[in-house]
Symmetry: C2
Amino acid sequence: MQRMSESDIDTVLATISFDAQGLVPAIAQQHDTGEVLMLAWMNREAVVETLATGRVCFFSRSRNALWRKGETSGQVQHLRELRVDCDGDTLLLLVDQHGVACHTGRRSCFFRAVRDGALVEVAAPQVSPEVLYGAESATLRQAERMGGDAAGGGGGTTGKCLR
Amino acid sequence: MQRMSESDIDTVLATISFDAQGLVPAIAQQHDTGEVLMLAWMNREAVVETLATGRVCFFSRSRNALWRKGETSGQVQHLRELRVDCDGDTLLLLVDQHGVACHTGRRSCFFRAVRDGALVEVAAPQVSPEVLYGAESATLRQAERMGGDAAGGGGGTTGKCLR
C-alpha cells in the first residue's frame, strides 16, 4: 500500500478506539487467499509505524514493546490494506505474509480445529521450527525462551508466534 | 457442525486461555468466502453454548451478559468449525452468517478501509438499518439504545453490531 503522511495517519488514528491499556486487537488476513493468519495487538505507535512504513508492526504485551513482525525471523508481513470495524475497536490487516506467520512453521496460527468432537491439527508445518529458529539470531532465540507473544493472552511462555 | 457432548467440550475448553476477565477474542469468518465478518468476545459459557448448540453465542462486555448472535434480529451465525490458535488465546469461528453481521446492514463490520491516505467505506449496506430494526422487537430497540457490543472496546454507545 501507499505509505502515508503524518497528518493522514492522525486522521485514521482518530477513528480507532484503543482500550484502557492503549491497545486494539488486529487480525492479520492474507489479502488474496482470505486465510486468517493470526491475531495480535497494536498500540498507537504500532499503527503509526505500520501505516508509515507499509510493514506490519504489532505491540507485544508480554515484552511491553513494539514487535516488528519478522524483524528477526524474516517472516514479515507487508500491509496491503488496513480496515477499521464499525465501532473502531478492532483492526483488520490485509497483508502479504512472507513465509509463515506461526512460530510452529505453519502459515496460520489457527491450525487446530474441533472436528468430530476433538481438537485436531488441520495444517502441517511448511518449515520445521528448528530450521526457522536456526536461521535466526541468538537474540531471537533468547527472546523466544523468554516468551514473545502473538495474541498474547496471559503471558504464557509456550506457543508464541514468530517474531 | 456436529453438536458436541459435555465431556468433549471440556477437552476443548482446557486448550483455551481465557484472559483475566475470563474472556477470549473470537473472530467470525464466513466459512466459504473467507470474509472476516466481525470480532467479538466469548467467555466459557459462550463457548460451551456455541459448541453444544451449533449457533454462535458471544459475551457482551458492555451488557455483561451472553449475546446470542441474531437472537432478536434473526441475523444468526451457524458454526461450521471452531479453531483455536497456537497459544490458545484467540478463537476463529468459521460460520455461515445468515443475512448481515453488522448493525449498519453490511455483511461485515470491516467496511472502512484506508485507501489513498483516507478512511473510506468499501461496502454498502445490503439492508437498511431502519428495515432491520423495524422488523425487530421493542426489546431489541431498547437494548440497542442501551448499547450492545461487537468487539466492544471501551463500552461506547455508537456503532454497535447486530444482536
